[in-house]
Symmetry: C2
Subunit: 509 residues, 2 copies
């Protein structure tokens, strides 16, 4: 630093430089992660793990360095720092305390166990053999109990809350439970009503084969108009779609393509582009590495992807705008006779299914609530690992009206638990809830929203999202942000009203 800097700002400057350097190293790992899923030759896979581990070790060491703790303490004692700095310091204090509370032995045990558990899960899923995975899941649950203890369980809270902080800071299991239960109470009957109604909108046109390069061209056109900046990002192909906000000026999304699933590829691309707009609009250029350049929570991040995938991408106005270009770009004769109403209805088919990632906008939430309840019960010791498959299958029968034929299509279908993630699942439905509640505020702020979407004018919407959500980074927690934007805490009503309001007319019920 320059010698003319007032001495009282020096710790904050040193802290920001240190955060930026650590984030820079983490961003190098992010490039490697992107490469691994897109272009890396298969023979490089074995060594890529070593590269990622070496970088992670350095990043972890720098995040938890005693000097960082000293700087945070020095800044906290500095009354001259402004509100923005104070908000940043609150987040840094939280992160630093959490990272340094875990004993190294527990960090190592967790990394080793989950690495082996993921391997065991893959094999168990392949053979549909829950018994082979059960001991690993038990270890994951036990280690997460230890982690929760080490983090510290909040007064009046439970172990799950301590884990949830990694994904949804400021949220509690009890609050999620209340909201989810209320949502489920309204959603399950709606889905049953739809299922028993017997009608199903025509969606066979979605399976019209379309060459992948034409799908890519159409998706590129859509996300470019959404505002995705191709000068500061890329769109590629991978087996598992993702968005990686690598660094300032570098946000990359991927899509999985199949000839006969162009509508899925479009939804998936709009989903990832929603994440990408958040990443591109975070103030990273000036604040890279600082909490104010990071997403508020996983749930808020997911709200951005769901806004574009569902609230925009499954709306009638969107298709009034997109249909002619879809027909032109995809070119298939079978798609030329489609009208807006057919496409709109076909994009909103509700069909209970066994697999979370293949499920529709409504039933998806039942899948999430099931996982939340079961993992919470596992962690609390209210459910034994051995009893999990039966509990899973009972719940699928109750909520979705389906029999689970084998564990591969049931309790073994998701990778999350094998990765050690307990507390992650609820953020998916929190994203849907936030998206629907924000949408009510957006409608108030943009009275001509439908007209804008119908004309492909996305700038007012993206501008609103940037100004009200993206620009703040982690300045506010998700619950704070929700209250600021909508004047209320998160509730189940907006999502339920949105689904009721859309699906009843679509199904004529």
């Amino acid at each position: 630093m320059s010698d003319t800097q007032p001495s009282d700002t020096a710790p904050y400057d040193e802290l920001r430089r240190s955060l930026r350097e650590t984030a820079t190293l983490a961003s190098a790992a992010a490039v490697l992660g992107w490469d691994q899923e897109t272009y890396m030759p298969p023979g490089a896979a074995a060594f890529r793990g070593e590269q990622m581990a070496a970088l992670s070790a350095i990043v972890h060491e720098r995040h938890t360095a005693p000097r960082v703790g000293e700087l945070i303490a020095a800044c906290e004692a500095d009354a001259s720092l402004d509100d923005e700095a104070a908000a940043s310091l609150r987040a840094l204090r939280r992160d630093y305390d959490r990272a340094t509370r875990l004993p190294t032995s527990l960090v190592r045990a967790f990394a080793q166990t989950t690495s082996r558990a993921m391997h065991a899960w893959r094999e168990a899923r392949e053979r549909s053999d829950f018994g082979a995975f059960a001991p690993w899941l038990q270890e994951v649950v036990d280690l997460n109990r230890e982690r929760a203890q080490a983090f510290g369980i909040p007064a009046g809270g439970e172990a799950y809350d301590a884990l949830l902080e990694d994904y949804e800071p400021g949220m509690t299991a009890a609050e999620i439970r209340r909201t989810f239960d209320a949502l489920r109470a309204g959603l399950a009957p709606l889905i049953r009503e739809i299922a028993s109604n017997g009608r199903r909108p025509d969606d066979a046109w979605q399976r019209t084969p379309v060459p992948v390069d034409r799908q890519v061209g159409f998706n590129r056109w859509v996300v470019e108009r959404m505002g995705f900046d191709f000068q500061a990002g890329r769109m590629d192909v991978s087996a598992h779609p993702f968005c990686e906000g690598i660094a300032p000026g570098d946000v990359r999304i991927t899509t999985r393509y199949r000839d006969d699933a162009w509508a899925d590829a479009l939804s998936s691309t709009m989903h990832e582009a929603g994440h990408a707009l958040y990443e591109q609009n975070l103030p990273k250029a000036e604040r890279f590495g600082q909490p104010l350049a990071e997403a508020a929570s996983m749930g808020i991040h997911e709200s951005q992807s769901r806004t574009w995938e569902n609230l925009v991408g499954r709306s009638r106005p969107f298709w009034e705008w997109a249909l002619p270009e879809m027909q032109r770009a995809l070119g298939e004769p079978a798609l030329q006779a489609l009208d807006v109403e057919t496409v709109y209805r076909g994009m909103n088919v509700v069909q209970p299914g066994l697999i979370r990632v293949e499920s529709d906008e409504a039933t998806y939430n039942l899948h999430i609530m099931l996982r939340f309840d079961l993992e919470r019960a596992l962690l609390a010791g209210d459910l034994a690992v051995a009893d999990l498959p039966a509990a899973w299958n009972d719940r699928v029968r109750d909520d979705l009206g389906l029999e689970v034929p084998d564990d591969a299509q049931g309790v073994l279908q998701d990778i999350h638990w094998s990765m050690g993630a307990i507390g992650y699942f609820p953020t998916y439905t929190l994203g849907n809830l936030y998206a629907a509640q924000f949408w009510t505020a957006i409608r108030d702020a943009l009275p001509d929203l439908d007209g804008q979407l119908r004309r492909g004018e996305f700038a007012p919407l993206t501008g609103w999202l940037r100004e009200n959500i993206h620009a703040h980074g982690r300045r506010y927690t998700a619950p704070e942000l929700c209250r600021r934007i909508t004047g209320r805490p998160l509730g189940h009503e907006p999502l339920l009203e949105y689904l009721e309001g859309k699906l009843r007319p679509v199904y004529g019920i």
Copy 2:
């Protein structure tokens, strides 16, 4: 390490672990370097420099850590280590001493100056204004004199030798000068004779426009048959072709394509694939980070690329094999009537030109010798920076019979000096010399070499290269390797005889 390890091998094991970890971090930077030239969005360019600098700083710190010096010393004192370990330690000692002899202030000054000099060079070249670059070149020369002093100038040697060690360990400027002068004495008259002869084989067919995707398909077919392992590598497109040996199982090459230059793209691809075969065949899986898994020198590396680009790719047997597939894969009607003799002659046109990177197999060496003599004179203080353009232009007139119209097409054409590289240029022609001299040994070892090339059987050639060159890594220096393989020190005769033997019949002189 396990407690049962004999204690006397412990330092060597710790050293190998440390080398592997440092190389692992360096390999992460290599992925970023590859990404920067291939897929990185333009908006990420500014920050990519920060990522690379952060990784480089860590790699440099670990390479020069006092603990590494202690471990090398401990291993040197260990009489129980085998020949392979001893060879490895010699290389490590050399690297460590060189890296630690430079004062940090000089390392920093060099990095800062060359970063700005590259920028100044780009602008100066654009405006063809040597005067704007001259002060930067002066700084680069001065800093390189300081570096040479810090490295230590060998007894009886000169400053240039100390720099050369970075690129061609074990070689001296005096020896290069002797070999280059002898080569020039034979080559310059041959090229003059060709130029004055008036004939020029037909090579207009090389400019037949061919869509890039078909060129890629053909090049891929060729390099796959050469033995390039696509499971452990990739082939992409970039503005400047390169080969990056990233890590075990991960070697990537790139090509620059133009519709009307498919033969250039093929030569360039075979060149990079020659580098890539070296990288893929180095014993990296077991010894990553150790000298025995690294290339012997830049000259030896270049000998591998030149072997495939020139000795194979411009030979009659190669085209007897490749012509039908070229015609089929490129598909252009204008190429269908070509015969082997026309293609062979057209691939061997000799035409003095101003630009090094566009020059043919023979005149290329005159370009290199010119640069070697001038940079050696600059460093020794025998040539002032201000007098460089005139010296350059005189030499081009003498050697190539051409007038240099402006500095952009003369002394400003190459990036190397702006990067701080003095001692790099000669390795290009050393590569040609090594390739031709090794080729005589290959012909002895593989009496049916021409027949094998004619049938596209490359395995005997790649096997010989792997066994005699690639497998050794840095176990032998380039001069040692040359003596082991050919029984003689490097000489100018094999290259001159090869060029004479090919070009005189092609030109009927």
